[in-house]
Symmetry: C2
Subunit: 315 residues, 2 copies
């Protein structure tokens, strides 16, 4: 059964210190599903404009993505982001955002998608996220992302959505904004108490922090970023991280025949996601994923193991 | 046999969002030796002014520190730092630095200190660091720290000193300055190739990265910061880290009866040092160390183990 992912399928113009690309494939659902494709197929719920290149839909299909839930508008244009990065690749600068079709996105799920076990909600309007969520019949795992715009403009709707999910993926700046707390450890704890079972804090080059609860056991887990030396385009790193994370848990769930996900699985999901995201930033858009296999991701996981492991401290 | 530590014994005026203290104990040697005291005694090589409070020397002695190598000037005043921290505790702002006795620091080691196995050189003038180093007869481990001022004013002397050491401790900003490279992973590799066996990059709240070589085996190791929620005064955090690190290796060396230090020991030293530094910042100057035992440091190491551990990725 596929992961259902509601998010954007878009086009991007991107300039970084390593080059410039015009009209390349973008959007949270494209990045997520491509990154997830090494472990699990995704069904995208999304909308594209009348101008959207058919070859990008074909590209996703070749990755095993179910694109039957992508509606094509007959009159509106595609969601388009134009931006650039300077030397500090942690900061995206926006030249222009064209909402296009996104302003009339009204997702309707078919029976198969309503019955999926895994749902991920990209960083779209929390009102739309809730519309998708409410159509699901028995989700086993629900993850969501958000962004600064919704934190300032739709805080109540966002908090209502957060209550429902197993995992909130959020970056450090957004977490500070949402919680009003500078200390990320405190902030993650505060937001986790508002409902989600896990708050997954993406700190970019500074790694990932998870504050979670499993049954009644609270836990903290940290994994550093994979020390890649070739960050060409960070666009979609967070979506690739989420795609890696959710697809890892989806695979565990499928292999376990319903046995609940454990803490060891969550740790592995975070490491797999870290490795996946580190590969995504080494090329523009999703291009690096076209040149690798799951074995390459796996090798980076093994590196992260060596990079961080130590034995329990001797007496 | 004691660790020999050449550095400053000073006074500080410090203001942070948590309070203000006037004329408290400061200096790299005070922080280092206090932090090291949980595992190993330190012999300080340093100089204080005619005005230096006798009670601070007494304080160090009570920690088991050998203060016989601290010279007291008859005419000059003590090294004094006056500074403050705002909400971003990673950045120290200086109001005033009074060099005092430091301008005439000319360290001379007695026979016992010349024969020590472990030497640490605080972030003093690299010309003085070299003077101390040259007096040592058979050091087994030499570590050093430095700072932005020497990187810009004494680069050649600093590079000559770096060649001689087993471990260079340096913070992220200083590493970028010294290497001219923004990417810390690349920068650490570049500087390690200039001579030191390990470059230990202190990234404050973002943890510690080590690029090292042991025999012919290159390694990278990363440990996150301990997620303390109570940073009251970061002054001396780097010196406390170094004190924890070097004292851990000193203990291994002593217990091993000369068996060489291994990679597992270096990893443990970094974790112990991380735990030690996290405690130091929870109070002004060295005050938090007065209220804890080695067991408290050990508990934070165990937390860091749980915080970062994961099993090798399953097939």
């Amino acid at each position: 059964m596929n992961i259902v992912m509601a998010g954007t399928v878009a086009m991007d113009d991107i300039k970084t210190p390593y080059g410039e690309r015009i009209g390349i494939i973008g959007g949270s659902a494209s990045h997520f599903s491509t990154a997830a494709s090494f472990l699990a197929p995704t069904s995208i719920i999304g909308i594209v404009g009348k101008d959207y290149p058919a070859r990008y839909i074909q590209y996703l299909r070749k990755k095993g993505v179910d694109t039957s839930g992508i509606v094509q508008s007959k009159d509106q244009i595609s969601f388009y982001w134009k931006g650039f990065y300077e030397n500090d690749m942690n900061v995206a600068h926006t030249n222009d955002t064209i909402l296009g079709v996104l302003s009339s996105f009204n997702p309707v799920l078919d029976e198969e998608k309503k019955n999926a076990d895994f749902l991920f909600l990209g960083n779209i309007d929390p009102v739309i996220q809730m519309k998708v969520y409410r159509q699901m019949k028995k989700p086993v795992f629900v993850g969501m992302d958000t962004m600064n715009f919704w934190i300032s403009s739709r805080k109540n709707e966002l908090l209502a959505m957060i209550k429902k999910v197993d995992a909130l993926f959020i970056n450090d700046g957004e977490l500070r904004q949402l919680s009003g707390e500078v200390n990320l450890i405190k902030a993650a704890g505060m937001i986790r108490k508002k409902g989600p079972k896990m708050v997954v804090v993406k700190k970019g080059e500074h790694g990932v922090l998870i504050n979670g609860i499993l049954g009644t056991e609270e836990f903290l887990f940290f994994t550093p970023a994979y020390p890649t030396m070739m960050v060409k385009d960070p666009t979609g790193a967070g979506d690739s991280f989420a795609g890696g994370f959710v697809s890892y848990l989806h695979r565990v769930h499928t292999q376990n025949n319903g046995k609940p996900i454990g803490l060891a699985d969550i740790r592995h999901a975070a490491v797999w996601a870290t490795a996946t995201a580190s590969i995504s930033v080494e090329g523009f858009a999703t291009s690096r994923f076209d040149k690798i296999t799951a074995k390459d991701i796996r090798e980076r996981c093994d590196f992260l193991y060596q990079y961080t492991k130590f034995e329990p401290m001797p007496e």
